[in-house]
């Protein structure tokens, strides 16, 4: 019995490194173009869809890629459905019978909408990826948990609000988020726009954990006792583009920070691909004006990016990291004497 536990440790240790770089030798162009060719297929005949998506691909990772890509470029995020579901879930949150009944009702409605209009909410994306993968004999799970974005109200994060997938490829488990990969909701009009983000495909579990916390912690795919729901709620905000630039978000560890005037704060990240120092900027917002500043002591050594910043006067600052003018992460600093 003990022997199995040791084996388990190996499996877990192995998994913590499971990410896209395991497949550097594979070119996903073929899988992606097959997904694109199947663009007009419906969801009435799933085995046929899976057959078309996977027939000419040789490896499980490519077959999974074609399925995942198809879902990401074909399924829309349904804002109205989200709103309707969210309202009721909030209303019934202390009444389990009503919540269960509502869930049965909305599940039927969600499946109907997905089938007819190819529109859904998070769980629908994750469900479809799992369903299609299973038909291709690929082991895939829906992970229910907490997702954090710039618009998430942390105080109300008392029940899971997001779904994503874990997939088993060559004996290792990997993470991906088809909902956030497929596109974004316009903050003013609430209209959905397809905008595929490749960063959410087989992401480094360490970066994923910054804004994804599973209900069942084994799906963090990390063996880090310092990572808890509390540290997750305190973590900085990261954006979609962070998934294209970073492998690990190291410091600052928290969204809200406090320090004294002229005290140095160090920022540290692991990069996915090399960049140059002049691509790194900070936006410092003191509540009245935004200032775009060059950080101090910017260093890029191997894959590690470090730089510093200090505030000369007291105040409350929102600070945003930009790489290539893309929004990567946000922090706040309370500067007090």
């Amino acid at each position: 019995m003990k022997v199995f536990r040791f084996l388990l440790l190996f499996i877990i240790a192995f998994q913590s490194n499971a990410q896209i770089s395991d497949f550097n030798n594979i070119d996903f162009k073929k899988a992606d173009s097959i997904a694109l060719e199947c663009k007009d297929e419906g969801l009435y005949n799933l085995p046929e869809l899976v057959h078309k998506l996977t027939l000419n691909l040789d490896t499980d990772v490519e077959r999974f890629r074609a399925i995942y890509m198809w879902v990401c470029i074909n399924i829309e995020n349904d804002y109205t459905l989200f709103l309707k579901n969210n309202k009721r879930r909030q209303k019934y949150q202390n009444d389990s019978t009503k919540l269960t009944n509502w869930n049965i009702h909305i599940r039927r409605k969600i499946f109907k909408t997905l089938l007819k209009d190819k529109k859904t909410i998070c769980t629908g994306y994750a469900y479809l990826v799992k369903k299609l993968s299973n038909l291709a004999n690929i082991n895939c799970e829906i992970i229910q948990g907490y997702g954090r974005t710039s618009s998430t109200n942390i105080d109300k994060l008392n029940a899971p609000n997001h779904s994503w997938n874990a997939v088993e490829l060559n004996g290792k488990w990997y993470l991906c988020d088809p909902t956030w990969a497929s596109g974004i909701i316009n903050p003013e009009t609430y209209a959905f726009k397809f905008e595929y983000n490749d960063g959410y495909f087989l992401t480094s579990p360490k970066l994923f954990a910054v804004n994804h916390f599973p209900e069942n912690e084994k799906w963090l795919l990390l063996n880090n006792p310092n990572l808890t729901f509390k540290t997750f709620l305190e973590a900085p905000i990261i954006y979609g583009k962070a998934y294209n630039a970073l492998a690990i978000h190291d410091t600052p560890k928290k969204l809200h920070n406090a320090l004294r005037p002229n005290e140095k704060v160090t920022f540290k990240y692991q990069l996915i691909k090399p960049i140059t120092t002049n691509q790194v900027h900070l936006i410092v917002d003191n509540g009245f004006v935004d200032r775009k500043v060059e950080p101090n002591a910017v260093q890029i050594k191997d894959d590690t990016l470090t730089f510093e910043h200090q505030f000369s006067s007291t105040g409350f600052y929102d600070v945003h990291l930009l790489i290539d003018d893309n929004l990567i992460s946000s922090y706040t600093f309370k500067v007090k004497r």
Binding site: E48, N103, F111, N139, I237
Partner: protein
Amino acid sequence: MKTNFTLKQKHNGFIKPVNVEHFSKRDFSKRTLSFIAIMMLFTLMSNPLFAQTNAPTESKVTNQELVVKGIVSDEFGPLPKVNVLLEGTKIGTSTNKKGEFTFPKTLNPGDVLVFSHLSYNSAKVKIIEGTTTIKLVLTSDTIEMIGDLNMEKRFKSKRSN
């Protein structure tokens, strides 16, 4: 012969992480080594066995030419538009408004039919000698439907000033 099938929820192979803090390092390497040794031995010994099972399978029951009909439902009643496919092929049909189907090709014992529908768990039914009618009840996942939005809006602190 009538066969009733109900699909049970699938267990995946993921093993629960355990707390391993209380094992010493020496213990660890010794046990692991012995375990690896056992696994290697097992691998070496079991492989040749597989290699010998290539003998032709008996064809006693193959050419039975069964016409298979059936009805598919869920807990509430008959299910239309369920896909019925012969595993490993593109041959198939789907259920009509009453949840009924007649498979377009005669089947042999050992053939497997795959039943699928977006809203339900897929089910596989193996044809055995004498199967002519399949009565299948599909189940669905009781998953909670949730979803939050990602608007990629720049974070702004709520300030009192």
